[in-house]
């Protein structure tokens, strides 16, 4: 099996799975809505699909090697308490075949902050934060050697008020590299942590600009295929908005713009307009201007790169996200064929958007899924539509 990158159809939300050459898995956000868990509902059952892709450990427990939560908004963390085990791994309910063990959490330091007006956490995000704090506390007590799979955590980015100072061993700083999932470092991938940004406490102006939206982790993964390094570059940025991308471009345009290059990018914030522009569509309509810096940051494509928008079907209306003008901008960076909306894709193909990563590069998977095959043959048609019987 080649390494694989999968984007699940979760409406306006993010959920992607990286499966490495060595079969390790990195989950990036989840949005497992109640409808998707309802067997009577037609919403794609992403949890079941995810679980089919995961391995079980020697105790029969499903697990992910790493779970990157870009930021703790509900459309990035929904389903956490239903489908994942939280708490010490030894408390994993024996014989439970459905819960997933998170071997290592990758979390932004925002979980240390107290809730404020700008910082409200949904219940599932609170559960994430509690679990993250448990793991950090355990690390402080027992160090690296005392924290095994299921107790591990990496903190992505330094916290501005020094709360991460004593966490050096589990801290990845801005512009630093993630090179191991669950501390297995075999050169299968590296992830450049581009954000959250470290902001000097004295820079009040920047704090003002970034405060609300600086919490998203932005990672540019470079993934090996068939043992060959860097066969797929994948840029993912949570809900980071235009000001962040402006900053990133300014920061890296001269010497490190390659850090922003990608074969596959997930549009930030579900293809929303506010990623690309400071102008309000509702006020200016077609007169809006795209921020040149943000566009530059988001358009460092390698040959044939593909942009994936994890969002609802994109319509020409005022409902943002997703935004049709944003889609147009992304299509101008790639092409109509190389821009894929996850839900539109799922409607047509009955499955997630998948990329195969081989020794020669990243291919968008083209294959008939079993579900699609069944629907072609009309196998499920009879039972999914109410039929009258006289």
């Amino acid at each position: 099996m080649p390494a694989k990158l999968t984007f699940f159809p979760v409406g306006n939300g993010d959920m992607a799975l990286i499966k490495l050459d060595n079969k390790q898995t990195i989950l990036v956000d989840i949005n497992i809505r109640a409808a998707a868990d309802d067997p009577e509902d037609d919403t794609y059952d992403v949890a079941q699909d995810l679980k089919r892709r995961l391995s079980r450990d020697d105790k029969g427990r499903l697990y992910v090697d790493a779970f990157l939560l870009s930021h703790p908004d509900s459309d990035h963390v929904t389903g956490l308490t239903t489908h994942f085990h939280l708490g010490p791994p030894e408390d994993f309910p024996e014989g439970d075949e459905n819960l997933i063990l998170i071997r290592e959490m990758w979390s932004s330091p925002i979980v240390f902050r107290r809730a404020s007006k700008q910082h409200k956490l949904c219940d599932e995000a609170k559960a994430w934060a509690t679990e993250a704090r448990r793991r950090v506390a355990l690390f402080k007590e027992k160090g690296l050697t005392g924290t095994g799979s299921g107790d591990r955590i990496l903190i992505l980015g330094e916290d501005k008020d020094g709360k991460t100072d004593d966490l050096t061993d589990i801290l990845v700083k801005q512009d630093g590299l993630l090179t191991a999932a669950d501390r297995v470092n075999t050169g299968q991938f590296e992830g450049r942590l581009l954000a959250p940004m470290y902001v000097d406490e004295d820079d009040k102006e920047l704090i003002e600009v970034l405060e609300k939206n600086n919490s998203s982790a932005i990672v540019r993964f470079s993934i090996a295929g068939d043992g060959v390094a860097d066969r797929c570059r994948f840029l993912t940025g949570g809900d980071a908005d235009v000001s962040i991308w402006d900053q990133l471009w300014q920061r890296h345009k001269d010497s490190n713009k390659d850090w922003l290059s990608y074969d596959v990018m997930e549009t930030p914030h579900h293809c929303s307009w506010r990623t690309l522009s400071h102008d309000r569509w509702s006020e200016m309509g077609e007169k809006v201007k795209v921020s040149e810096d943000a566009r530059n940051a988001l358009s460092q494509t390698r040959d044939g790169a593909i942009i994936v928008a994890s969002c609802k079907p994109i319509k020409k209306d005022d409902d943002n996200p997703p935004h049709e003008r944003a889609k147009r901008e992304y299509v101008s960076i790639t092409s109509a064929e190389r821009f894929i909306c996850t839900t539109e894709y799922a409607d047509e193909h009955d499955g997630p958007v998948e990329f195969n990563i081989t020794g020669v590069g990243t291919s968008k998977q083209l294959a008939l899924t079993p579900k699609k095959a069944a629907s072609i043959a009309g196998v499920t048609g009879v039972t999914t539509t109410p039929r009258s019987h006289g």
Binding site: G227, G359, K364, L366, A377, V379
Partner: protein, 746 residues
């Protein structure tokens, strides 16, 4: 099929195809009474940067047009797919053929018609086969790029009409560092394949044919009048070390010139020319009416090892034909003149091939004692798993009544079983020695021991179901016969079976394991083992003659033997230091069979004072004795020894104890074994063990390191007078054991 039906099928196919994600466009090209031709434009999965360039490096395009042919027998037969003429040919999984014909991909590993129809609904079949075509194209786009980790994928030649059967390992072993060639003696048969095409099967032997020299045997000879079979040569040609062919060359060889070019490309053009020259000279002055096929086998050097092989050499055979009429300018003037075609190479049946097909590990070689039903079946199971069998020994002949269950089927002639089994095993690439020999006697002589268990034997397997043979095997010292011994036997009319695997240094021996089995049998096992109802029966095998045998069907015998052989393979593979016994019984009213395994530690070997006997004490019993003495640290204690005796082996084997009855007396200097209830308990133990375990003596403890006391010797004498079998007095001191028995002075 009427044209209207064909059209209906074609339109249905297209309707389904449009729904398939890879299918960008499709349409009907032509439709007739027996055939409909369609096209599909399929998007090919390839890396994004090749997509951007508009082609894969090998020329596969992001969208490929394929033609689909629905034949008259559609949908019973899968449609045929062909690719465009210019499609790159240097790929695996393309059917060999001329450059002028559109290439055909091999879409599935196996029968394409079965694949197409396995889904029940035709729509699912269409979806699956078109999807498979898409997957194939995706692989083709990146397929030529192989790497050392995955191995070199051999060129696909499955299902070609002409075949060369050869011991691939032998052929590879002939290849030297310099370029060269050898001729191998080869049988040929001419026939027709299922499609009615002319087909040759050539079978090369591991034996050279003389390429030169008029005095040597001529390698070509037609055997039958019809000239459809005979002897010819396979010519193995190889390039020098360093002449590595890293490219997959298209399978487009059609004639001798192509073949010469191909030889050149493989780095052995000169050798090929030499071969043609030698062939002409070999035939100089000779004539023959027959047409002879010759296999030209290139040993192509690849940059890394082949998938599933340890070698980097790929064997690629081609077929040419020669004729030698009286008036001729060359040997290539026959009906197929200068044609050359690719052949399929099949491995000759060798243990290595069978091992690979069975996914079996490699075992130390076996030798077998007993070539009856169980022995013959076990031998074939082992040989088919690629295990080597060095010798088979048996003292009987195959008789008609053996045909009920013996693995071999033979006409009613009294052939020795060992010879027949050896011949059968030879067909599986084995060369076992066969001996018509009485094993019990044979084991007593060094030269015969070497026949029964030749040097190199890892496991000597006894399948005779004879306790005499078992005892004889258990008595031979490891120095005299170093192989590890094992035994498979059935009982209870095939409803039970056991496997013994002795420990290292013949400890525990097969006989020890038999005693342990008796000590640990379950009631149901006991019924099957010892109840006469499940035992041997006199079967009439002719007028006035009968045979003692165990009535059961071949199916029953095979079922138990097969499972026992699996256990034997596990044990032989593990080669643990201790011994193990495995017992299986078929449940009374169900098809289930349950097996139990029992590891048996080494027996303590205690010389018995006053005679040539040895006491063999199971480590289980030793443990029981130590537990008992720990319970009575300040007084002597003891009990009764249960086991078996063999006057042939001069051994007393102790596998169980009966604890001292309540009327026993324990003091610091004396232990008196009581009698209360003992008779009943001994009888019960005797019955429980299927009447095979007796009371073989007593044991008691000494508190200090002191051997037998005068009292002990007196008791020994008393016991000897009172009962026939050798009776042991075993003394357990804190650190060791002493055993005595009374023997009258001679």
């Amino acid at each position: 099929m009427a044209s209207a039906d064909m059209k209906r099928h074609a339109e249905h196919f297209l309707r389904v195809a449009t729904e398939i994600p890879q299918c960008q466009r499709c349409g009907l090209i032509a439709v007739g009474d027996d055939v409909a031709t369609l096209f599909l434009d399929l998007a090919v999965e390839m890396p994004t940067h090749w997509h951007a360039k508009g082609t894969a490096p090998n020329g596969v395009l992001p969208v490929e047009r394929v033609e689909v042919l629905l034949g008259a027998d559609y949908p019973w037969r899968c449609p045929t797919f062909t690719l465009r003429k210019g499609f790159p040919r240097n790929l695996h999984h393309l059917t060999p053929g001329s450059e002028n014909v559109c290439p055909t991909p091999c879409l599935v590993d196996g029968n394409q018609d079965e694949y197409f129809n396995q889904h029940g609904l035709i729509e699912l079949g269409i979806g699956a086969i078109v999807n498979q075509m898409g997957v194939w194209l995706g692989r083709a786009a990146i397929g030529t790029l192989m790497d050392p980790d995955h191995g070199w994928e051999p060129v696909m030649r499955q299902g070609l009409p002409n075949r060369l059967i050869i011991d691939a390992d032998f052929a590879r072993s002939q290849i030297t560092d310099k370029s060269g060639s050898v001729w191998l003696a080869t049988k040929f048969m001419k026939g027709k394949d299922l499609a009615g095409k002319r087909s040759y099967t050539l079978s090369a032997h591991n034996e050279f044919a003389a390429a030169v020299g008029n005095m040597s045997a001529f390698p070509f000879e037609a055997e039958s009048e019809g000239r459809y079979s005979g002897i010819t040569a396979t010519v193995l040609i190889w390039p020098p070390n360093g002449a590595i062919t890293s490219a997959v060359l298209p399978e487009t060889v059609a004639n001798l010139d192509d073949l010469a070019q191909r030889a050149e490309a493989f780095g052995c053009g000169v050798e090929f020319a030499k071969f043609l020259d030698r062939l002409q000279r070999r035939w100089a002055g000779k004539t023959d009416d027959a047409t002879f096929p010759i296999a030209v086998l290139f040993g192509v050097r690849r940059p890394f090892r082949l998938i599933g092989r340890a070698s980097t050499i790929e064997l690629l055979p081609y077929l040419i034909e020669i004729t030698a009429p009286q008036k001729r300018a060359s040997l290539f003037e026959g009906p197929n003149a200068r044609a050359a075609v690719a052949m399929e190479q099949l491995d000759r049946t060798t243990p290595a091939l069978l091992r690979a097909v069975s996914a079996a590990p490699s075992y130390p070689p076996f030798s077998l004692v007993g070539c009856g039903s169980v022995g013959s079946k076990t031998a074939l199971h082992l040989a088919r798993a690629g295990a080597q069998i060095l010798a088979v020994s048996d003292s009987n002949e195959l008789r008609p009544h053996n045909m009920a269950r013996h693995a071999l089927v033979r006409p009613p002639l009294p052939w020795p079983k060992a010879f027949e089994l050896s011949d059968e095993l030879a067909l599986l690439g084995q060369k076992p020695e066969a001996h018509l020999i009485d094993v019990v006697r044979g084991l007593k002589r060094a030269d015969n021991r070497l026949l029964i268990s030749p040097p190199g034997t890892g496991t000597l397997l006894n399948t005779t179901a004879s306790s005499l043979v078992r005892d004889a095997l258990s008595m031979v010292s490891p120095a005299e016969l170093p192989a590890r011994m094992a035994e498979i036997a059935l009982f209870g009319r095939g409803r039970g079976g056991f496997v013994f695997h002795e420990g290292s240094n013949r400890n525990p021996s097969l006989a020890d394991l038999q005693a342990v089995l008796s000590a640990t049998v379950t009631p149901y096992e006991r019924t099957l083992l010892f109840d006469p109802e499940f035992g041997l029966t006199q079967i009439q095998i002719g007028e006035g003659c009968g045979s003692m045998t165990m009535p059961m069907t071949d199916a029953r015998l095979s079922a138990m033997t097969a499972m026992a052989t699996e256990e034997l393979m596990r044990l032989a593979g593990a080669n643990a230091d201790g011994g193990e016994l495995v017992v299986g019984v078929a449940e009374p009213d169900s098809p289930s069979t349950s097996w139990r395994r029992l590891s048996v530690s080494k027996f303590l070997e205690i010389p018995v004072e006053g005679g040539e006997w040895t006491l063999r004490l199971s480590s289980h019993v030793a443990g029981m004795i130590r537990e008992e003495t720990a319970r009575f640290p300040n007084v002597e204690t003891g009990g009764l020894l249960i086991g078996s005796c063999s006057s042939l082996m001069k051994t007393v084997t102790v596998v169980d104890l009966i604890e001292a009855p309540e009327d026993s007396v324990r003091t610091p200097t004396l232990f008196v074994l009581g009698t209360k209830g003992m008779k009943n308990r001994i009888d019960a133990r005797f019955e429980e063990s299927g009447r095979s375990l007796l009371d073989v003596g007593t044991w008691h403890s000494h508190l200090a390191e002191q051997g037998p006391s005068p009292t002990d010797r007196k008791t020994a004498k008393q016991v000897a007078v009172e009962r026939a079998p050798p009776a042991i007095l075993l003394i357990a001191t804190p650190a060791t054991y002493h055993a005595i028995m009374h023997q009258d002075a001679p």
